[in-house]
């Protein structure tokens, strides 16, 4: 089977909601699993890793960490060592898609489950991992079913199991449906949860690449990241970099939600501007609603303003204007939304989803939520704004155990920066009423 011509939409080329997702035979007929064949017959693990590094693929889960570099920390065995005594290693797909406003991984898993399975097998072949897990959000019932079907097809066909393609390499893959907490999206909390422990993050170092699942070297990557790997192996790093409009390589699954005409998720070249996403793909704001502000990449990314719409949506450019690209799924907030109410709702979410391990997050977030509520009820004072300011320092990066509370501080800090007047007005209103 020869490879089809490369496409501009490598992640979603096979996704068509008007038909069933491809089964194994159909997927193979469209070039599926060619990357596994190539990896196992033509490329050494180190060559695979070099390709990944050269592709400049960055993690699509939100942090945007270079995938090749992340993988290079996994201890590798020589061919002889591995055949004699393979080191237990794991590859885990983070499919616990819980970021508010995010629904991109679901598109892949429901639209083309084999792409993720292929990504995991080829990734595992690079890492020489022995077992893989897809840690999937419990609510993604359809996706889990489809993945399980895809996996059993692969087991039957020999893409999974012992001695794959006669390479002497064994690999199996399992789907684990999560019991459901936002923090399971944090890779080390995910690993704890997968081990049956409380979903609390782990301290780093040691990084999962060295001591991960059950203390063994482990790679955890987002679904979209893994789904990119087959095509990078097939078509090369230069092709992948060429897909992008900016320096950050590849395509990206962008999403738009909020009061827009056509909310949705699209695969577009990396670096597409927010304005194009909103106005072209999402069809602009609904009639009568004006864009006030937006969260560029999910609930934990700092707010941006309409003036930022022309910024290319990639890790570098969004980072430069004080926010994060996150998952690349924008939540548009219009002028008729109760802004402080929306913010409180968001902070409520983060307070509820705190794992309860470290003090600033566990006890700080509920206080932030209560303070916002107080201000909204017109009972706030300037001391409350002071506390919110203080929280944006003490609950931020470096002070907390993981990135959960800093994520919650992103929208709050930017709200205080861009919309401070709204907080102050509510307080003044209260005072004028009481006086």
């Amino acid at each position: 089977m020869s490879l089809p011509e490369p496409t501009q939409r490598p992640l979603t080329q096979h996704v068509d909601h008007n038909r069933e997702a491809y089964n194994l035979a159909e997927y193979e007929a469209h070039g599926g699993y060619e990357s596994v064949r190539k990896m196992l017959t033509e490329l050494s693990p180190s060559a695979g890793l070099e390709l990944l590094k050269a592709s400049d693929l960055r993690g699509r889960g939100g942090a945007g960490f270079p995938t090749g570099m992340k993988w290079s920390f996994v201890p590798m065995q020589s061919e002889a060592e591995r055949l004699a005594n393979p080191m237990q290693k794991y590859i885990v797909a983070n499919a616990d898609e819980m970021e508010p406003g995010t629904f991109k991984d679901r598109v892949i898993m429901e639209g083309c489950p084999h792409l993720l399975v292929e990504g995991m097998i080829v990734g595992a072949a690079i890492l020489q991992a022995t077992t893989g897990y897809i840690f999937i959000r419990g609510e993604y019932i359809e996706a889990a079913e489809k993945l399980n079907r895809a996996i059993s097809e692969c087991r039957e066909k020999g893409w999974l199991g012992k001695n794959i393609l006669g390479s002497g390499w064994d690999f199996d893959l399992h789907v684990h449906t999560s019991a459901g907490r936002y923090i399971c999206g944090e890779e080390t909390a995910l690993l704890n949860s997968l081990e049956g422990k409380r979903a609390t993050p782990r301290a780093k170092p040691p990084f999962p690449q060295v001591s991960g699942l059950w203390g063994k070297p482990t790679i955890v990557n987002n679904v979209e990241t893994l789904a990119n790997i087959p095509n990078i192996i097939n078509y090369g790093a230069e092709w992948f970099k060429g897909l992008s409009l900016t320096e950050d390589a590849g395509t990206k699954l962008y999403g738009v939600s909020g009061r827009v005409n056509k909310a949705g998720c699209w695969e577009l070249p990396m670096g597409t501007t927010a304005r194009e996403l909103l106005e072209v793909h999402a069809g602009g704001m609904r009639d009568g609603y004006k864009l006030k502000t937006f969260l560029p990449g999910g609930g934990s990314t700092p707010l941006l303003l309409p003036e930022h719409l022309d910024t290319p949506m990639d890790y570098t450019h969004i980072g430069k204007i004080g926010s994060r690209m996150g998952t690349g799924t924008m939540i548009m907030i219009d002028d008729q939304v109760d802004f402080l109410g929306a913010l409180k709702n968001l902070e409520h979410f983060f307070a509820q989803e705190s794992c309860g391990f470290c003090t600033p997050c566990r006890d700080g977030l509920p206080w932030v939520e209560k303070t916002l509520d107080k201000i909204i009820r017109g009972k706030g004072t300037s001391a409350d704004i002071e506390w919110l300011d203080r929280a944006t320092v003490n609950l931020n990066m470096g002070f907390t155990f993981c990135a959960h509370a800093p994520g919650a501080m992103g929208p709050l800090e930017s709200a205080l920066k861009y919309f401070r007047a709204e907080f102050e007005t509510r307080i003044k209103l209260h005072h004028s009423e009481t006086v």
Partner: protein, 939 residues
């Protein structure tokens, strides 16, 4: 050494630790909650934030958690940096948002780490005016209170209970700011080390229920350095007293022995001191009629003078013999021995125990063995336990073994370059990997969960396996090994490999099975391992009572001085009078035989502090001081001689109790001038005991001209304590015997280790203050650890051990002892909460044996013994691992005593038995049931 710069001051700190450990070790104050010297760092509370600078030129720095950051050479940090300080105050502010303002009614108040840290971090004004989260509290049993509203979620309790102590029924539940620390439902905390939660919890969530029942503030307690009396582990304790009542026991840090932790028997078993069964006045029986088993009611109070006269007469009578006690101090035993003469002083130990302890003592003095302290035990990397259910025979040692098996984790962490103090990371890395621990015993025990392999069989069979291991260690092709079953052979070679390949192997055995062959086989393993490895072998040999070793040393382990010999003397009529020291002989020998012997005596004098059967036939009962009111020296299993000091004076208004040695001394017309004199005399009398003279500074030791005070400088109401009785101020009792005073005057700040009663430092009111008295956090006390090891003369070992034959006895059954941390110890059973925790008396049987007798779990069985009149009706517990023909009897429960094991048991079904309705069936989960079975609790 690493160079560390803190706020522009240079310090030298030990390599490989974290910044918090380093800062505390050099005496700096830095607040923390989740970190614990024994449990390492997890970075949960974020309280120990400091500013770290990259190098000399870095002026911005960044805030890091001191506990999670290595104190690497050249590190530059600041504790006083404003950003770090503000953050630390912010963390306390957050912790306090949900903490109730109940300090005035909280048991932790005044010794609360949270109070101290709040003060230290400068959070003084509350701005949070929202509602607090609240929790329901749980019933956790008779020992521990639960007040979850006070919880600051530091996770120390679960990390201690689950990770450190191996408990299974306490966990963190729920999430976000509703995290709950408790059981799945109300119920007794199963771990016998649960009491340490009281000290591990930085605030008042887990508090001592027995203390709450007669509460006083920490600063109002009179305390002394003391040693736990409830087994031979030698744990150091701090008893606390007020109003003449012993109110509680807390851990007293000893780096070599108990470290930071005690077992629950030691912590909560103090009730006998306050018991209504205490003997407080001399009691005499007017008519002497031993045949008539008269009870205490007919004994009448007699004056101190009269009782002393009678004691003097008795001690002078050449027809008097005396029986000492393994639960009395060396000084009391020595005084009595000196009074009647060595040849007429006998060990008050059950004959079956006596021989094993004597063998053990002889062996401990050979050059092939080093008696391992608990700290040494934790550093070993392969362990064989032969014939001990350690959790119940030496509980604190069992807790140490749970750390020993983590040596493997330490190795893995070293390989992966993860510092061992990165607790969560190391546990994650090591998963289930453990250093090898093998348990060979007659029945399942509570350490089996961490054992690599276990083997259960009859004492004879386990001894043969032990000897086979020894044989293989010396010479691979032994005849004994050939006689093993394939399963035994495999076990044998696994153990031999593990022991010979380990860096530091450890053998644990002891006297608990009351079987000489089993002990001998273990000693032979040590000997052979010594030959195999050509080095001194670490061993911990367990004896049953607080001073078993001391008594054996005092009497030179001589066979002529055993209790059986004493009985022979009485039966033959050679002895006419008997003085018994702090001993219930009915626990030691066949009561029928004892009754018969005692009838022959003209006079029986018993010196003891609590009422027991052994007093029923006494003509004179002399009230002794308990460990809480007396001074003395005891020798632990390890051979460590340690001094305990009276916590409070006997109240002369309502008690005439006195140290046993004092009674004897007065009867001898004050042969010894004072306590130091008798200690020195005892030390001089016996080479083995010579070091005891140096255990603690003498009575004339002074600091700045003052004694070391037993009361804190904040002790309140001293002059008004007895104002309800007499308004005039009572003179403070003097303590002429020791360097401690019953006083507030003076300071214990620079006290030597053996005199250190409690730890307090400015700003550190809780037990966490102990690090102010350690050179290095977790290391020995600045003033020196308490205790000196009496073992270790280097004579060559001449002991030879005979292998028991394979022949079986004709009897259907033989009895073996089961021990229970709650129930098998005589004195702690006086404490109601301990009694509540002890199981009902039972007998344990193999299922097939039970079936043959038509017995099922919970049925009743009648138990008799050959040549004995005694009859027991007991509930039947089925133990599948128990080999056929063995009957497990819980020692100390329902009148089942050690001496019974010398007789062959006879069993039959008790048809009149009525099953006890089970109150435990509600809310039982698997763990309750499995634990219950292993304790023989579930009928």
């Amino acid at each position: 050494m690493a160079k560390l710069t803190v706020d522009d001051q240079d310090y030298d700190v030990a390599d490989g630790n974290n910044l918090l450990h380093a800062c505390l070790s050099i005496g700096l104050d830095l607040p923390y909650f989740c970190w614990h010297p024994c449990m390492g760092s997890v970075g949960a509370c974020r309280q120990c934030a400091v500013k770290q600078y990259a190098d000399e030129n870095d002026e911005r720095g960044r805030v890091v958690m001191a506990c999670m950051t290595p104190a690497s050479d050249g590190a530059r940090i600041s504790i006083n940096d404003k950003q770090a300080k503000d953050f630390r105050a912010g963390v306390i502010e957050l912790l306090m948002t949900n903490h109730p303002h109940d300090c005035p009614v909280c048991e932790e108040g005044g010794e609360c780490h949270l109070q101290d840290m709040t003060e230290m971090s400068g959070h003084t004004t509350r701005t949070y005016d929202e509602q607090k989260r609240t929790h329901n509290n749980q019933y956790l049993g008779p020992l521990i209170n639960h007040e979850m509203n006070r919880c600051i979620s530091c996770y120390r309790c679960v990390r201690y209970y689950k990770d450190y102590a191996g408990g299974r029924d306490l966990d963190a539940m729920g999430a976000h700011h509703h995290v709950y620390f408790g059981r799945h439902t109300d119920g007794v905390l199963e771990s016998p080390f649960a009491g340490n939660l009281v000290e591990v919890c930085p605030t008042g969530v887990f508090t001592d229920k027995t203390f709450s029942a007669h509460y006083s503030r920490k600063w109002d307690l009179q305390t002394s350095p003391s040693v736990c009396q409830h087994c031979a582990a030698g744990c150091n304790i701090t008893p606390g007293e007020r109003y003449g009542t012993l109110k509680r026991i807390t851990n007293r840090y000893n780096a070599d022995v108990n470290g930071y932790f005690l077992c629950d028997r030691g912590r909560f078993g103090y009730g006998f001191v306050n018991s209504d069964d205490r003997v407080t006045q001399p009691l005499a029986r007017e008519t002497i009629n031993h045949a008539d088993n008269t009870n205490s009611d007919t004994a009448i109070q007699c004056s101190t003078e009269n009782s002393l006269t009678r004691l003097t007469q008795a001690l002078k009578d050449p027809a008097t013999i005396a029986i000492g006690s393994p639960r009395a101090s060396l000084e009391s035993n020595f005084a009595l021995q000196s009074a009647v003469g060595e040849s007429r002083f006998y060990r008050g130990i059950a004959p079956s125990e006596d021989t094993t302890i004597n063998t053990l003592l002889k062996f401990q003095q050979s050059s092939c063995v080093n008696s391992a302290s608990q700290r040494t035990i934790e550093s070993c990397d392969a362990v064989l336990i032969l014939g001990e259910d350690l959790t119940h025979t030496s509980p604190r040692t069992a807790l140490s073994l749970r750390q020993t098996v983590r040596q493997r984790a330490r190795e893995l962490a070293d390989e992966a370059r993860i510092p061992f103090w990165q607790d969560a990371a190391v546990r994650e890395l090591a998963q289930q990997e453990k250093s090898p621990l093998f348990i060979i015993n007659t029945h399942k025990g509570d350490l089996d969960d961490i054992a690599e392999n276990t083997y259960f069989n009859s004492p004879q069979k386990i001894a043969r396996l032990g000897f086979a291991i020894a044989e293989q260690l010396r010479d691979k092709s032994g005849a004994l090994s050939a006689s093993l079953t394939p399963e035994e052979k495999e076990m044998c070679s696994t153990i031999v490999n593990a022991l010979s390949q380990a860096k530091r192997p450890l053998i644990i055995a002891g006297a608990s099975l009351l079987n000489e062959d089993v002990l001998n086989s273990a000693l032979d393993v040590i000997k052979s391992l010594h030959i195999n490895r050509e080095e001194v072998i670490q061993a911990h040999l367990v004896v049953p009572e607080v001073n078993s070793i001391g008594l054996a040393m005092l009497t030179q382990s001589s066979a002529e001085r055993s209790l059986s010999e004493a009985l022979k003397q009485i039966e033959s009529g050679a002895a006419k009078r008997l003085v018994v020291l702090e001993n219930d002989l009915y626990q030691r020998v066949n009561p029928e035989k004892l009754d018969a012997a005692l009838e022959k005596l003209d006079e029986i004098i018993v010196i003891d502090h609590v009422w027991h059967n052994g007093m029923a036939k006494a003509d004179l009962i002399i009230p002794a001081a308990s460990f809480a009111e007396g001074d003395g020296t005891v020798v632990s299993s390890e051979g460590r001689a340690q001094r305990f000091f009276a916590t409070f004076p006997v109240n002369a208004d309502n008690s005439s109790a006195n140290d046993s040695w004092q009674w004897v001394n007065q009867a001898l017309d004050n042969r010894w001038k004072n306590f130091d004199a008798i200690v020195n005399a005892c030390a001089e009398s016996n080479d083995l005991l010579a070091p005891i003279a140096d255990l603690a500074p003498p009575a004339d030791y002074r600091q700045h001209g003052l004694k070391v005070p037993r009361m804190s400088h904040r002790y309140s109401g001293r002059t008004a304590l007895s104002a309800n009785i007499n308004v005039s101020e009572v003179k403070q009792p003097a303590d002429p015997q020791t360097a401690l005073g019953f006083t507030m005057e003076g300071s214990n700040v620079n006290a030597p280790g053996p005199l250190r009663n409690t730890a307090w430092a400015p700003g550190w009111n809780s037990n966490q203050s102990i690090h102010k008295f350690q050179d290095e956090v977790g290391g020995p006390l600045t003033g020196g650890s308490s205790g000196l090891c009496l073992f270790g003369s280097a004579e060559s070992n001449e002991l030879e051990f005979g292998v028991p034959s394979e022949q079986t006895s004709n009897a259907d059954f033989s009895a073996i002892p089961f021990y229970h941390i709650f129930g098998s110890d005589e004195l702690s059973n006086f404490a109601a909460p301990i009694a509540e925790r002890s199981p009902q008396a039972y007998l344990a049987l193999n299922p097939l044996d039970a079936a043959q007798l038509d017995l099922t779990q919970g049925d009743g069985a009648t138990l008799r013994f050959e040549n004995l009149q005694q009859v027991f009706s007991l509930t039947v517990v089925i133990r599948p691992e128990l080999i056929r023909g063995l009957v497990g009897l819980p020692i100390g429960l329902g009148g089942l005593t050690r001496h019974l094991l010398e007789h062959s048991p006879l069993l039959e079904k008790n048809l009149a038995w009525q099953r006890v309705p089970s109150g435990r069936d509600q809310n039982v989960i698997a763990t309750d049931q499995s634990i219950g079975l292993s304790e023989g609790l579930v009928p």
